[in-house]
């Protein structure tokens, strides 16, 4: 998605910013707890998708969630809102 300039020649002449995934870097590194989906429990309600502040959840073909760990900040909203408790938060590095 990124069309960000790589050299100063490619830089725009005005103070225009370029839409870029990861404008603040890989924000997944902010995370302490990692959301893990139990797909056998998931009812594909898409609530976790709509409530994720980071757009880190993709709604797949079958409406089940796919979490992008490069950018998920580990806020835990998806886990808190999942009606069937299909998402658990697990400490990183364990």
């Amino acid at each position: 998605m990124s069309i960000a300039p790589k050299t100063c020649k490619e830089m725009p002449v005005t103070t225009l910013s370029i839409p870029t995934v990861g404008s603040m870097g890989k924000t997944g590194s902010w995370r302490t707890f990692r959301p893990v989906v139990d797909y056998s429990k998931c009812t594909r309600c898409t609530l976790c998708w709509i409530y994720c502040p980071d757009g880190a959840i993709t709604r797949q073909e079958d409406d089940s969630p796919k979490i992008d760990y490069d950018y998920c900040k580990g806020c835990g909203i998806c886990s808190n809102e999942c009606p069937v408790k299909a998402i658990t938060m697990e400490r990183e590095g364990e």
């Binding site: 870029t20 404008s23 924000t27 709509i50 502040p53 806020c75």
Partner: protein, 301 residues
Amino acid sequence: MAGSIKELSKEEYLLKGHGACAGCSLAISLRLLFKALGNKIVMVVPACCTSVIPGPYPYTSLAVPVQNMLFEATGATASGVVAAFHRRGIKDVTVVGWAGDGGTVDIGIQALSGAAERGTDFIYICYDNEAYGNTGMQRSGATPYGAWTTTTPTGKKERKKDTPFIMAAHRIPYIATACSSYPIDFINKLRKAKEIEGTKYIHILAPCPTGWRYDTSKTVEIGRLAVQTGMWVLFEIENGKFKFNPPSNRLIDKAKRRPVKEYLTLQGRFRNLTEDDIERIQKWVDEDWERYCKLASNQYV
């Protein structure tokens, strides 16, 4: 109008890897704005958390045209953008002013009032995290009574301004309240506002884990509790006519509303409240509801 979440577009115009704190409801609200209106919009954004979310130049996480503007100038800038589109005969772009509570109820209020008085054809959205967030949580005119901020270390002594009703005094065609915990309600209000000509004002409660001092996972829950306790009321004022929206319309009977204490005690910013304070807040909420109920039943207040 959208009936369910599954009908919403999968397209994202708030790109991941943005600068909002973990668990930020303002970021949810931005995603919902784009789900409602798509990318045929121009946003005017003053200094606020939303001007931090894009990230550093030359990058931005907002994949729609955004005009960043001075803290006090959202309404005036939007008026200029609308006039430019009008002059060029461009009719299919929605202009959206998107500002924080500080930028709306305090410093931006005269520019907003001017735009409303001129009837500028745009949607103005105030996302209300009840403090000056990106400068480190100073109190604003929208900070509620009793809340801790860095400039009210023992709790704010004054009450929150009733900004939707300040806008109602401008007799604009559409005013609404919303909260990202109720996504379909917010999206439908945005889509309705888009179809109305003139100045439209939407005030959203924006739970903020960083400033309100609660766990990041509770953001949606806190917004829901604000509505269920009646501390935040979902309503519309369309051409002067007041109407409750679900689920607030089911809370007219006081017994159906949860005690405000349930909302307050979940948040660290209210930790200094005494029992007397909580009683006072409950009384104010009940009085506000009496006023709203009279408006809903068309009695002059």
